[in-house]
């Protein structure tokens, strides 16, 4: 009798519960949703299962029932309890418009939601970027983050984020470094917008975890990894041409190839495929894109105002108008392809490994008729393995290399020349542990090698220069209580050039309740000079020299920030104020010696960047979402002159209307990106006729404020096909002034209002599924 009872009890506790997860509104089954369950409310010893192609998941329900936490990127996490004895349960997940549940990986070691992170992180969802119809990542980031500007210039792209340039903003792909051009800028075209899961932006020294280049900010682009058995998406985008330059190119034309290349169609095609079978996951993403070149025009002649404030020898502001008209400024067109392949092998919870390979190739068609266009080629690969030893610690090893070549190719004859080669390689060993209750420890060592081959070190001869660094870092995140969290970290950088440098960081977070969070952060950073800043030695046609300085000292900075955050299911606002004080800041300055101008890298005294930022998102109604960001930065003047080209004010705003029904979804959005007035001084020389003397002078450049607005309408049919129509720069803003002389790179590169159409198809939905 007892045996029978025991048997009955045993069978009773082996009862399974069938969960079905659907999307709220469309009632479509959600595939690949993570279902976490545990016996206790604290969710200790949580177990996981994933929903299948029909949105179903089953697990053995404990006697007393179970607490669940169901999550998926882009949806609001569901928590609750399944009563004992339940056999079937259907739950609906709502799209996460506010983004508080977005899981982030940068800034600490364990993935955790934005809300729980001790460091302020701005997250931009890749789904939102792709659905908003952006043509490329540069455009997407500029519309979604305040104060970020990526400008196409003659030799690549120049980036500016709230007063800091590419040397202080670290762009990472899945946490790994990339190499690009010599100024530290990357070919931002390398980031395939459609392969991005989300973007994490952490402002303010993350040097402790990421090293010297992160003294301003870290932008981590996390790529997609499918958790569905099969996922294939294809898409195509076609946009209106920026400017048609040649109506009828003929083979007899001297510049026949140039004429064709300048007027490429504005289009892209992409394909993403993911497969998951057992312990293996494969993710492939390819994207091919073209844009056409165009010109920016300035109607009036250049005006230069020499202010009395910046020029002590003047009694009043003096304006000089140039006699010559300004030639149109050409913005280059491109043709590029990116391909990436990731293979994951995750046989158990304790062991995971992955191998990635990325390939990039780009032709850049500039508007200079010099018989040459530029080609960039990049290959990078990463191998990672992580092993968990019981619940003591986890050890991870990463090997990463990035090889980048830049060429110049002739436009009439079939040959090309290598301009420079950049190689980086990185080895990382990281140990993380959550063994000690409430502590999240990370210890790591990183070895980094950087080699640059160019003809700019020794005049006209291809030579190489390299830098090697070994860095050690440690960080502890201590959850002192439910309300308090403290994070302390330190990184030491040992380089042959500069010896030991220490970069400490402390952050604290206080959350009195589940809505409020207060954060503060203090970091100290070092940035050692780059190869270019140290070794450059280039004579431009006897006109001027660009000179590196082997005696440069590393830049040092002290960063402090204080922020407050309030969030509910429908509303999120984060406000932060900061101060970033640089000493020995490395800048290029024009100096005259050896009878000519020399652009020389030197350590300037100090520079202070102080500012604030507000990020807000509000799901006003189920169908209406608003978001806005505002950034203010004040950069200290040097001797009464404002040398930084950054605008103090920048903002973005967006409004989105959503309508979901079975087999149809509509999303309409309007976004605006505002850049405030730019007022800065440019180094120049004036000859005063009456005195007959030539003096160093500064003229003030005044670029007006502007806003670029986009509108999109996206419709999804049967959850398979999405059609997006949109207009960029809907109010047709065109800059009236291009600045003067060397200041021409601070205006937005837009040809005016341009429309586009985009089509995306989920090919895997065509494949009939075998029901289990």
């Amino acid at each position: 009798m007892l045996c029978l009872l025991v048997l009955l009890m045993a069978t009773a506790s082996a009862q399974k519960v069938q969960l079905k997860i659907l999307e709220k509104g469309t009632n479509e089954p959600l595939v690949g949703v993570t279902v976490g369950y545990a016996t206790g409310k604290s969710m200790r010893n949580i177990e996981y299962t994933i929903t299948d192609a029909n949105g179903k998941a089953a697990f053995v329900l404990p006697d007393k029932g179970a607490y669940y936490r169901i999550s998926m990127v882009g949806y609001v996490t569901l928590t609750g309890k399944i009563a004992a004895g339940t056999t079937k349960l259907t739950l609906r997940m709502k799209e996460d418009m506010v983004g508080i549940d977005e899981v982030v990986v940068s800034g600490s070691t364990t993935p955790r939601s934005v809300k729980m992170n001790p460091v302020t992180t701005q997250v931009i969802s890749g789904k939102a970027l792709s659905e908003s119809g952006y043509g490329d990542l540069q455009q997407a980031l500029q519309q979604e983050t305040a104060g970020l500007n990526i400008q196409k210039v003659n030799f690549g792209s120049e980036m500016n984020m709230q007063g800091l340039d590419a040397r202080h903003v670290l762009f990472l792909m899945d946490g790994e470094r990339m190499t690009g051009d010599m100024a530290g800028n990357l070919d931002y075209e390398r980031f395939n917008l459609h392969a991005i899961d989300h973007v994490e932006i952490i402002k303010g020294g993350s040097s402790a975890l990421y090293g010297a280049q992160a003294s301003g900010a870290v932008v981590n682009l996390v790529t997609k990894k499918t958790n569905q058995p099969l996922s294939i998406k294809a898409g195509a985008r076609y946009g209106a041409m920026n400017e048609r330059n040649y109506r009828n190119p003929k083979k007899k034309d001297f510049l026949y190839m140039y004429e064709k290349n300048i007027d490429r169609p504005n289009m892209s095609v992409w394909l993403s495929a993911g497969l998951k079978k057992g312990a293996f996951t494969s993710q492939s993403d390819v994207c091919y894109s073209q844009t056409d070149a165009f010109y920016l025009y300035q109607k009036e002649n250049d005006k230069k105002t020499y202010t009395a404030e910046a020029n002590s020898f003047l009694d009043k502001d003096t304006t000089i108008v140039s006699k010559l008209a300004r030639s149109p400024m050409g913005i280059e067109g491109t043709e590029h392809i990116t391909a990436s392949q990731k293979v994951y092998f995750e046989p158990s919870d304790n062991f995971k490994m992955q191998v990635n390979g990325n390939y990039f190739f780009m032709n850049t068609y500039d508007t200079r008729q010099d018989l040459v266009f530029t080609q960039s080629e990049d290959f990078n690969g990463t191998a990672k393995a992580a092993y968990k030893v019981k619940d003591w610690f986890k050890i991870a090893v990463t090997l990463h290399a990035d090889y980048y070549n830049r060429y110049k190719r002739h436009e009439r004859r079939d040959f090309r020349k290598t301009v420079y080669k950049s190689r980086i390689n990185q080895q990382k060993l990281i140990v993380t542990s959550q063994y000690f209750k409430n502590h999240d420890l990370i210890l790591g060592v990183e070895r980094y090698g950087d080699e640059l081959t160019s003809d700019r070190f020794v005049n006209r001869k291809m030579t190489s220069r390299e830098l090697k660094e070994v860095e050690y870092f440690a960080q502890d995140e201590w959850s002192i209580s439910d309300k308090w969290m403290l994070s302390a970290g330190i990184r030491t950088d040992f380089s042959k050039q500069f010896g030991f440098m220490w970069m400490p960081k402390i952050s604290a977070k206080y959350s009195p309740n589940k809505n409020w969070s207060f954060r503060t952060s203090l970091t100290k950073g070092y940035r050692s000079p780059t190869i270019k800043e140290l070794f450059f030695n280039w004579d431009h046609l006897g006109m001027f020299m660009i000179v590196g300085n082997e005696d440069l000292e590393p830049e040092k900075n002290n960063y402090v920030s204080v922020g407050a955050e309030y969030s509910t299911d429908r509303f999120f606002i984060n406000a932060t104020v900061y101060d970033n004080y640089f000493t020995d800041k490395i800048e290029g300055v024009w100096k005259i010696y050896d009878m000519q101008y020399n652009f020389e890298y030197t350590n300037l005294g100090h520079q202070n960047l102080a500012g604030g930022e507000v990020i807000a998102r509000w799901q006003m109604f189920d169908f209406l979402a608003l978001n806005a960001t505002y950034s203010y930065v004040n950069i200290s003047k040097v001797d009464g002159r404002q040398l930084s080209t950054t605008s103090p004010h920048a903002a973005t705003a967006g409004i989105q209307y959503n309508y979901k029904r079975r087999k149809y979804a509509l999303r309409t959005g309007f976004t605006a990106s505002y850049m405030g007035r730019k007022l800065y001084d440019v180094q120049d020389r004036l000859t005063i006729a009456s005195e007959g003397a030539s003096r160093k002078a500064y003229f003030r450049c005044d670029l007006p404020a502007y806003a670029l607005c986009n509108i999109t309408v996206a419709q999804t049919f049967w959850d398979k096909l999405r059609l997006t129509l949109g207009v960029n720069n809907v109010f047709n803003y065109k800059p009236k002034t291009l600045g003067s002389g060397l200041t021409a790179f601070s205006v937005p590169a837009t040809a005016g209002a341009r429309g586009y159409v985009q089509l995306e198809y989920k090919i895997d939905k065509l494949i009939p599924w075998k029901k289990k």
């Binding site: 190839m257 392809i337 040959f415 006897g542 001027f544 000519q596």
Partner: protein
Amino acid sequence: MEKEIKASLNLCAFASLRWRNNNNFLKLTAFVLLLLALGACVKYDADPFDGEILPRVSGYSTGVTNDWIYFNLRTGDVYNKTKPNEDITEGEQLDTLIWDLAFCGHHMRTNSGTSGSGKGGALDLGNGNYEAWTTVSQLPDDAEWVVDTDSDVYVTYSQADWYHYLVENNMDMDLYPWFDPNKGPRQKITTANKLLEEAIAVSGPPMAYTPSYHTYVVRTADGERYFKLQIVNWYNTYLDIDDTGGEMSYYVDELE
């Protein structure tokens, strides 16, 4: 390097392929590799250039400010062909009719006005259409020929000549450098043809030379014959990448 890249990628694709017997994935890999192959293709299908190219770079970079190459369009002779002032020095061109057209950098002279005693001159026939102009009779009757002047065109000072000027006038070399990043190199007024000056527009720094593609007519020194001229590029197509240009490519043909 490229072979290694392709091999590695193939390996990655193959590694995941081993665990799959899915036709779709094979097709996907093939598609990916095809796209990669396409990305590296650049087609060279322009017609070969059948025009003229200047024999050398002229102008300030040779060390001489007024470094002109003189052409006799009627006989085909070229003066100062291999180096500056070889045959005709600055000033000697004034009293002779042995030349019709001269080049210095992107500036041009005709044997007329302040440049020479001849009956030369220049006329602008508008953008393109070079092939369409074949006879003298096509030229407009009321054509206003532009002759050379000495108050409109500036040439770039050679560095040597500029420093010579500074020394002569007791000016500090470090206060008046030859090149200014905002203004460009120092200029000196010269005698030249202001219409032909528009044949190629110069902007920068960084220096960019953009031809206007206008067809011009040059009248010879004796005033009898007419040659059409079109400047197509600042560069010589046969030279290396990174060449700084100056050996201009152009078309010149006689009008019947």
